[in-house]
Amino acid sequence: MQQRLRMELTGTQIALWLIGGGLLAMVLIGSVRTLAVGKYTSKQWLDFIVFGLAQGGIYALIALGYTMVYGILGMINFAHGEIFMSGPMIGYFFAIRMARSGFVDRQPILSLLIVLAVAMITSTTIAVLLERVAYRPLRGAPRLVPLITAIGASFFLQYLFRGLFGADVKVYPDWDILSGKVPILGVQILKTQLVVIIAAVLLMAGLYTFIQRTKMGKAVRAVAEDRAAAALMGIDVDRTIAVSFALGGLMAGAGGLLYALLFKQVFFLMGFVPGIKAFTAAVLGGIGNVPGAMLGGMFLGIFESIGPNLFLDGLGIPAPYQLKDVIAFTMLVMVLIFRPTGILGERLATKRA
C-alpha cells in the first residue's frame, strides 16, 4: 500500500517536473530566438522595464494587503481587488470636479494629493467595514466559510459599484505636470511612470517603517506570530486585525490611484485582474512576508511587461500581448507547485507551508 502510494506520488511528481521543465524550456528557447532576431532595440527593452517597474509597484502595493491579512488571519481576502477598485472610483468624482473647475490646473499638486487622500480613505473604509461585517463574525468557522464569504463580498462590491456609479469606463482627467518625459541618466522616461514608481517606493518604505518601528506595527507582527500569545500580552487582537486591514486598504487605495494615473481609466471590474496578479506577487515573495510582497510585485511587473515580447514573440505566437495575463496565471500555478514558500521563503511562510 505504502509502496503504491510512493509510486503514485513520484508519478505525479515526475509529471509536474516535466510540465515545469517544458515551460522553462519554452521560455528559454523563445527568449534566445527573440534576442537572436534582434527585433527590439535596447531602448525599447528599457521602456518595457520602466513600465514594468511602474506596474510592479502598483502590484506590490496591492500585494501588501493580501500578505498582511494572510499573515494575521491565514485567509486570502478575495475582495481585496475590490478594495483597490473602490478608492480610485470615488476619487474619480473628486478629480473630475476639480478638473472642470480649473482647480487641477491652478493647484496640480494639491489636487493630486486630495484625490490620493480620498482614494486612500475610501479604500480603508471599505476594508475596515468588510472586516467588521463579513470576516470578524466568522473567525472561528471552518476555513471554507470565510473563503466563500470573501468571494461573495468581492462580487457584491463589484456589482454594488456598478449599480451605484454605472457600468461605463470613467476616464481620469489629465494632470499637465504628469505629461511628457524626463531624462534620467540619458534615458527618456514618462513622467507618470516615474511618479508612480517613486510614490510606490515611498509608500512601501512608509509602511515598512510603520510595521518595524511603531508600537502598533509591533502589535501587528505579534498577532501575526501567535494570536493567542499576543492576546495574553495585552494586545487588543480585534483592533490589531482591523489595523492591518486598514493598512492594506491604505496601500490598495494609493495603488488604485496610481493605477488610474497610469492607465487613465477606472471601472467596476478593474480590481479583478490586478487583484489576482497582486496575489501572485504576494505568493511569489512568500505570503505573509511584507518585503517579499514588495519584491514579488516588482518582479511580476517586469516579468509581465517584457515577457510577451521576450519569449512569446520568439515562439512565433501571433499577438503575444493577448496572452499577457496567461503568463501571470501560469507563474502563480508554477510558484505554488514548486516553491509555495515564495522567493524569500521566510520563516512565517515556511512555518505555515
Binding site: L5, E8, T12, L16, I19, L73, G74, M75, I76, F78, P137, L138, R139, G140, A141, P142, R143, L144, V145, P146, L147, I148, T149, I151, G152, A153, S154, F155, F156, L157, Q158, Y159, L160, G163, L164, F165, G166, D226, R227, A228, A229, I276, I287, P318, A319, Q322, L323, D325, V326, F329, T330, L332, V333, L336, I337, P340, A349, K351, R352, A353
Partner: protein, 575 residues
C-alpha cells in the same frame, strides 16, 4: 423602556436604513417599479423597498430578549422612521440638485427623476415625501410587531403574503400558460399586476389553506409516515412514478418559453451536481469549474461543426468524446493542485479557468476554435428508430427531455456515489485531509476522481449546451458562470443533492422569469453568499451531517482566537 438600549436601536436603524437607500440608488427600485403587483399603483419596486425595512425591523425585534408591545412599537417607529427620513432626504436632495452642476446624477446615474416619481408615488414632492415617510414607519411597525402575533396566525399570514407575491411576480408567465383560460386570467389580473379582487382572493384562499394545513397537516404526515413504515417500497415507487410522470408532461403544461427556462435550469443542475461533488463532497473549492463546461462544449463544437469540417461527427458520437475530454482536463488540471488546500486551490483553479478563456479568445488558437467569433453549425442530436422515425432534437421542449435524462443520470450517480466507499472517502477529506490520509485514504486517486467526476458532469452539460444553442462563443464561459454555479450550491446547501435542485431553480430560474432581476443578479448572489455564510452556512436545504459539522465547529470555539497551530486555516500546502 426596559431592556431597550437607545444607542443600539439607533445604530441598527442607521445600518438598516442603508439597505433601502442602496436599493434605490442601484436602480433596483426603479427597475422593478415598471412591474405592477396590484394594478399599477403598487409596484414590485415599492414592495421591495418597504419589505427591506420590514425585514430589518423584524430581525431587530427577534433579537430582543424580552419583547413587549411598547418596546416593539417604539423600535418599529424608530427603525421605519430613520429609513423614511433617509429616503425623504434622498428625494429632496435629488430634486434640489437637478438643474445645478452638482447634479446627483453625475455621480449616481440612478438618482433620476424617474426614481423620484417612484419614491413619491407620482404625487408631487410634498405629499409624496409624506406618504413615503408614513409607509416606511408603518413597514417598520409591522416588522417589529409581527413577532408578537401568535404563531397560529403568523404562519398562515406569511404564507399568504408570500404566495400572493410570487404569483404576482410570475404573472406574465402564468397568464401565458396553456392550461389557463383567458377568463380566469382576466378575473385575476389587470394589464400589469393583479386586480385588487384577485390579489385579495388569492391571499385569503392561501391563508385558509395554510391554516387548514396547520390544523390537519400533522395527521396527514403521520399517516404517510406509517404507510412508509409498513410498505416502504410501494410508497417509494409511487412517489417516484408520480414525480417522473409529472416531469414527463411538464413541457406540455408550461409551453415553449417555460421549457427554455427549464432547459437552462437543467443545465445548471447538471453543473451544480458536478461542482457539488468537488466542493460539497470533497471540500475542494473550484472556481475554474466553467473550464470543463467550456471544454465539453468546444469538443462537441470542434468534432461536429460542419463549418470547420474537421470531423463532422454526429451528436451521439461526439458526446462520449466530449465527456472524455472534460475528464482528461479534470485530471490534468487536478494534478498540479493536488497538494493545495482551500484558498490557494480556489485562486489557482480560477487562474486555470481564465487561462482557458484567454487561450480560446486569442489569435493563437483561432484557426481551431474560432477566436472571439466562436463556432457555428454544431450538430443537433438525432434519434432514429424503426417506429418513431427520424427525430431531430432542436426545440426547447425536445431538449428538455435530453437534459432531464442527463439530470436523472447525474442525480443517480451522485446518490450512489455519496453512499459508496468513494463518497465517504471524499467526505473524510473534506472534514480533515491529514486524518483521512492517516486512515489509509489515497489522497491522489480520491481527489483526482472527484475532479474527474465533477468535470464529466460539467462536460456533459457543456456538450448539450453547445448542441442546443448551435453556436459557440467564448463569452459564454466567463468566470461568472463558475460563480453562479458556486452560489447555487451554497444557497441550496453544500453537499446536499436536493439543495442543488432547489438552488438551481431559485437562482437560475428567477432571472429568466424576471428580466429586471438579471441586471442585478451578481449583486444579489454576492450578497446571498455572504448572508448565507454568516447566518446559515449549511444552506436552505442542508444535508444532515453537514449541519452538524458546520454548527459544531462554531460552538466548539467559544473564544474566537484559535492558536495558529491548532487552526488548520494556517496550513497552506502540505510540505
Amino acid at each position: 423602556m426596559r431592556d431597550l438600549q437607545p444607542s443600539q436601536l439607533f445604530r441598527t436603524a442607521l445600518i438598516s436604513s442603508t439597505v433601502p437607500l442602496l436599493l434605490a440608488l442601484t436602480g433596483m427600485v426603479e427597475a422593478f417599479s415598471k412591474r405592477g403587483l396590484i394594478g399599477e399603483a403598487v409596484s414590485v419596486g415599492h414592495v421591495l423597498l418597504f419589505l427591506s425595512i420590514l425585514i430589518a425591523a423584524y430581525l431587530f425585534e427577534r433579537r430582543q430578549k424580552s419583547p413587549s408591545p411598547l418596546n416593539a412599537t417604539i423600535s418599529g417607529i424608530v427603525i421605519g422612521g430613520v429609513s423614511g427620513i433617509v429616503l425623504v432626504v434622498l428625494v429632496f436632495l435629488t430634486k434640489a440638485l437637478i438643474p445645478k452642476p452638482w447634479d446627483l446624477r453625475s455621480i449616481f446615474p440612478n438618482a433620476s427623476p424617474a426614481l423620484i416619481e417612484v419614491l413619491t408615488f407620482s404625487r408631487g414632492e410634498r405629499t409624496g415625501a409624506l406618504l413615503l415617510f408614513l409607509f416606511s414607519v408603518v413597514s417598520g411597525l409591522i416588522g417589529t410587531l409581527f413577532p408578537l402575533i401568535p404563531l397560529l396566525i403568523r404562519g398562515p399570514l406569511t404564507t399568504g403574503f408570500l404566495v400572493t407575491l410570487i404569483i404576482g411576480l410570475l404573472q406574465d408567465i402564468i397568464s401565458t400558460l396553456p392550461i389557463f383560460r383567458g377568463k380566469i386570467i382576466k378575473f385575476f389580473f389587470a394589464r400589469s399586476g393583479f386586480k385588487p379582487v384577485g390579489a385579495l382572493l388569492i391571499f385569503v384562499v392561501t391563508i385558509v389553506l395554510a391554516a387548514l394545513w396547520h390544523q390537519y397537516g400533522r395527521r396527514l404526515r403521520e399517516e404517510h409516515r406509517q404507510l412508509q413504515q409498513r410498505r416502504p417500497m410501494t410508497v417509494q415507487i409511487a412517489v417516484w412514478t408520480f414525480v417522473l410522470l409529472f416531469l414527463l408532461v411538464l413541457p406540455r403544461i408550461v409551453g415553449s418559453y417555460m421549457s427554455e427556462v427549464l432547459d437552462t435550469v437543467g443545465l445548471y443542475i447538471l453543473m451544480g451536481l458536478g461542482l457539488n461533488i468537488v466542493v460539497g463532497f470533497a471540500g475542494m473549492l473550484d472556481l475554474g469549474y466553467v473550464a470543463f463546461f467550456a471544454i465539453g462544449a468546444y469538443t462537441m463544437a470542434v468534432l461536429t461543426s460542419t463549418e470547420l469540417g474537421f470531423f463532422n461527427l454526429t451528436f451521439w458520437e461526439a458526446l462520449p468524446l466530449s465527456i472524455l475530454a472534460s475528464i482528461a482536463a479534470g485530471v490534468i488540471l487536478g494534478v498540479p493542485v493536488l497538494k493545495m488546500r482551500g484558498d490557494y486551490l480556489a485562486i489557482v483553479t480560477m487562474g486555470f479557468g481564465e487561462i482557458i478563456r484567454i487561450l480560446v479568445l486569442s489569435d493563437f488558437l483561432k484557426p481551431i476554435l474560432g477566436g472571439a467569433q466562436g463556432l457555428t453549425r454544431i450538430a443537433r442530436p438525432v434519434i432514429e428508430g424503426p417506429i418513431i422515425g427520424r427525430i431531430v432534437i432542436k426545440d426547447p421542449p425536445h431538449f428538455y427531455y435530453l437534459i432531464l435524462i442527463g439530470c436523472l443520470i447525474a442525480l443517480f450517480i451522485s446518490i450512489r456515489l455519496k453512499a459508496s466507499r468513494l463518497g465517504r472517502a471524499w467526505m473524510a477529506i473534506r472534514e480533515d485531509e491529514d486524518v483521512a490520509e492517516a486512515m489509509g485514504i489515497n489522497l491522489v486517486t480520491t481527489k483526482l476522481l472527484a475532479f474527474a467526476t465533477g468535470a464529466a458532469l460539467s462536460g456533459l452539460s457543456g456538450a448539450i449546451f453547445a448542441s442546443k444553442i448551435n453556436s459557440m462563443a467564448p463569452h459564454s464561459f466567463n468566470l461568472l458562470i463558475s460563480i453562479y454555479v458556486l452560489s447555487l450550491i451554497i444557497v441550496g446547501g453544500m453537499g446536499s443533492l436536493p439543495g442543488v435542485v432547489v438552488g438551481a431553480f431559485a437562482l437560475m430560474g428567477l432571472p429568466e422569469l424576471l428580466r429586471e432581476f438579471a441586471e442585478y443578479r451578481m449583486l444579489v448572489y454576492g450578497a446571498a453568499m455572504v448572508v448565507m455564510m454568516l447566518y446559515k452556512p449549511e444552506g436552505l436545504w442542508p444535508e444532515a451531517t453537514h449541519v452538524r459539522a458546520l454548527r459544531q465547529e462554531e460552538s466548539r470555539e467559544p473564544v474566537p482566537e484559535p492558536s495558529p497551530k491548532k487552526a488548520p486555516a494556517a496550513t497552506v500546502a502540505s510540505e
